[in-house]
Amino acid sequence: MKMRARYNGSENKIKLKEWLFRMVLTAAGVTIVLLLGGIFFSLFVKALPAIKHNGFYFIRGSVWNPQSGRYGIFSFIVGTLLTSFIALIISVPSALAISVLLSEYLPGYRNGRFFISFLKNATDLLAGVPSVIYGFWGLVFVTPVIRYFEELLHLPVYGVSILAASVVLAIMILPYMASISREVIALVPAELKEASYALGATRYETVGGVVLRYSASGIVASIVLALGRAMGETMAVTMLVGNSNRLPANILRFILGPGNTMASVIANEFAEATNSVYLSSLTEIGLFLFIISLILNGIGKWTVRRFAL
C-alpha cells in the first residue's frame, strides 16, 4: 500500500513516526490500566486488616456496628443495587427518547435547530449541577411526594427512602446516557436510514430496526457508564436515602422506606473514623464496590455480545 515514489527517503522518518505514535497510544492504555491497578492495590492493602477481621460475615451480615466491631454490609449491597437499577429503569427511556428525538425527529421541524440546541445544552447542564444541590432539591420536591404516597398506603411516613434516592439518581445519570447516545445515534450512516425509508418503513420502524440496532453497542456503553456513576454517587444519595440499616421483607416497604448504600456509608463515616479496623472496613466497602462493578460490567458485555449486531 505504500507509494514508493512519493515517500522515498522520508520512508524511515514516517516509519519512526508511526512507531512512536503507536507507542504513545499503548502508553496511554498502559497508564489507564496501571491507574486502576494502583487504586485496587492501595485499597486492598488498606482493607486487608478488615478482610481478616470480618471474613465472610462482611457480605452476608446486616449489622454494621462500629462500636462492637461487627461490620456486615448486606443491607448496603441491597440498597446500592436497588437504587442503581431503579434509577436506570427510570432514566433509560427518557435518555433514549431525547437522543432519538435529537437526531431523527427534531431536524425536520422549522424551529428544530433552536430546540436541538436547547435540548443539548439542557441535558449537558444537568450533569453540571453539583450533587449537593440535587440532594437539597430532592428534599424539597421529591420527599414530600413520597410522603404523600406513604400516607396513602398507610406506611410509616418518612419521605427519605430508597425511592427518593433512586428518582434523583435517575435525573443525575440522564445526561450520561442522553449525551453519549445522541452522539452515537447521530453517526448512523445516512445510507442505511435512507435505504430503510426507501423500502417503505415508517420512522418508528427505521428507528427501532436500524438506528438503535446500529448504535446498540454505544448505547449500552453509555448505560454501563451511567450505572457506574449511579453506584458511586455519594452526596445526593446520602441526603435522600434515609440511612437506615434495616431490611424489611416486603419489597414495597423497602423501596418506600429508608435504606442505605455502600458509597453513602463510606462518605458518611470516613471523615470521623479513627479506629483502624473501622477505617479498614470502610476501605473494604470501597474494594467491594470495585468488585461489583467488575461483575456487572462482565454481565453487560456478555449481554451485548449475545444480542447486538
Binding site: V157, N243, E272, T274
Partner: protein, 367 residues
C-alpha cells in the same frame, strides 16, 4: 477535503494555544501573588488546621480577626473530628480540632476552646403553646425513645414529665445523624452515662448502630427532616437550633432540675473540676444548674513541635494563636452562639500551651 480540515485544525490549535499561554502566564506568575509560601518567613506564615465542623463558624471568625490583628493566615477546614485527628497524625496540618478527645494521646496535647451543647428537638403540632414551658424529658425517656421502646407521644412516661400538657398519640419518628459526628458522640456519651440499657446495647461513639429511625446528613439534615416529618424527634447542636428557631426540650439533670439549654447553663455545666490534660467529658454534669448534654471542643497539637522540618518560628506562631484563642478570642463566642470557657479551663489551657517544647526546650512565644 484536505484544505477544509487543515484550516479547521489550525483554528482549534490557535485557540487552544492562546488559552494555554494565558493560563501558563497566570500560573507562573502566581508565586508573586501567593503570599505566605515561604516556610521561614515570620510575617505571613500560613497555619493549617482541620477537624470538627461544630466550631467551624467560631473558628472562621476567630482566625479572620487574628489574621487582621497579627497578619498570620490560618486555613481551617471542617472535614470532621476524625479527619482532623488523621491529618494531625499524618502531620499534614499544624493543629487538629475534635469534639471527642483522643483516648490514646501519646505526645498530643488537648486544649479546650469553647463549649457546645446538644439539644433534643421535635416536631409537634402544639409545640408553639409549649414555648413558655418547654417539653420536659428525662434521660430514661430519651433513651427509651431513641431505642425504639417508646413509640408514641401519648406514652404515659412522657406525660408524667409534662403534667398539664395534652400530648397527641402520634407516632414518634426518630431522626439521628447519618454521618459520623461529634454531636452524636456527645449525645451518646450522655446516654451511656445515664442509661444502663443504652450502655449495653448501643454504646457511645461518633457512628452508632441505631435500632430505629432515619438518618440526616449533618445538623441541617437532621433539622430538615425533623421539620418535615410530623411527630419527629432528633438531636442537633444548640447553635443550630437557636439560629433556626427550632423548639427544644428541657432536660432533667443529675440534681433533678429541668434545665433549659442556653449559653448560660452550658457554661455552668463546665463549672466542675477539670483534670490537668483537660480531657474530660462534662455530660451528665454534677453542676447544679448545668445543662446535662454539654461538652468542650478541643484543639489538638503535638507536644514536641520539632517534627518534619517544622521551624521554630512556625511553632511560635501556633502557640501564639492558641494562646490568643483561649484569651482574647473568647470574646467572639457569645455573638455566634457558643459558650465561652470558664476560668478554670483557661488556666489549664495556659499550662498546657506552655508545656509545648521544641527539641525538648520550652518555647518563647509572643502572648
Amino acid at each position: 477535503m484536505k484544505k477544509g480540515l487543515a484550516y479547521g485544525q489550525n483554528r482549534i490549535g490557535r485557540r487552544l494555544l492562546g488559552t494555554l499561554m494565558v493560563f501558563l502566564l497566570v500560573m507562573l506568575g502566581s508565586p508573586v501573588f501567593a503570599r505566605g509560601s515561604k516556610e521561614h518567613r515570620i510575617r505571613g506564615e500560613e497555619l493549617l488546621g482541620a477537624g470538627a465542623t461544630f466550631p467551624y463558624p467560631l473558628y472562621s471568625r476567630m482566625f479572620h480577626e487574628y489574621g487582621r490583628l497579627r497578619g498570620v493566615k490560618v486555613n481551617y477546614q471542617a472535614i470532621g473530628s476524625g479527619g482532623g485527628i488523621r491529618q494531625l497524625l499524618s502531620k499534614t496540618v499544624d493543629f487538629g480540632a475534635t469534639d471527642a478527645f483522643m483516648n490514646n494521646a501519646e505526645g498530643i496535647l488537648h486544649i479546650p476552646t469553647c463549649l457546645g451543647a446538644v439539644v433534643v428537638t421535635y416536631n409537634l403540632p402544639f409545640a408553639k403553646e409549649l414555648t413558655a414551658r418547654r417539653l420536659r424529658l428525662s434521660p430514661e425517656v430519651i433513651s427509651d425513645i431513641f431505642l425504639g421502646k417508646i413509640r408514641k407521644w401519648g406514652d404515659p412516661k412522657i406525660s408524667k414529665l409534662n403534667p398539664g400538657v395534652s400530648l397527641p398519640n402520634m407516632d414518634i419518628t426518630v431522626v439521628h445523624r447519618s454521618d459520623g459526628s461529634g454531636t452524636t458522640f456527645i449525645f451518646s456519651d450522655y446516654l451511656f452515662k445515664t442509661s444502663e440499657e443504652w450502655r449495653e446495647k448501643i454504646g457511645k461513639g461518633k457512628s452508632l448502630n441505631w435500632p430505629v429511625g432515619v438518618g440526616g446528613k449533618g445538623n441541617p439534615g437532621v433539622a430538615g427532616l425533623v421539620k418535615q416529618i410530623r411527630g419527629a424527634v432528633g438531636y442537633v447542636e444548640l447553635v443550630y437550633a437557636v439560629q433556626n428557631n427550632m423548639p427544644y426540650a428541657a432536660i432533667r439533670n443529675r440534681n433533678g432540675k429541668f434545665v433549659v439549654p442556653s449559653l448560660n447553663t452550658v457554661s455552668l455545666a463546665a463549672d466542675i473540676d477539670i483534670p490537668g490534660d483537660t480531657r474530660v467529658s462534662i455530660t451528665d454534669t454534677s453542676a447544679k444548674e448545668g445543662y446535662p448534654i454539654s461538652s468542650f471542643t478541643w484543639i489538638i497539637f503535638y507536644r514536641e513541635q520539632h517534627y518534619s522540618n517544622r521551624s521554630i518560628e512556625r511553632a511560635k506562631e501556633l502557640l501564639s494563636l492558641l494562646w490568643w484563642m483561649v484569651h482574647d478570642g473568647q470574646r467572639y463566642t457569645k455573638a455566634l452562639g457558643y459558650a465561652k470557657l470558664p476560668e478554670a479551663a483557661v488556666r489549664r489551657a495556659e499550662a498546657i500551651i506552655n508545656s509545648a517544647v521544641y527539641d525538648g526546650k520550652p518555647i518563647e512565644f509572643g502572648r
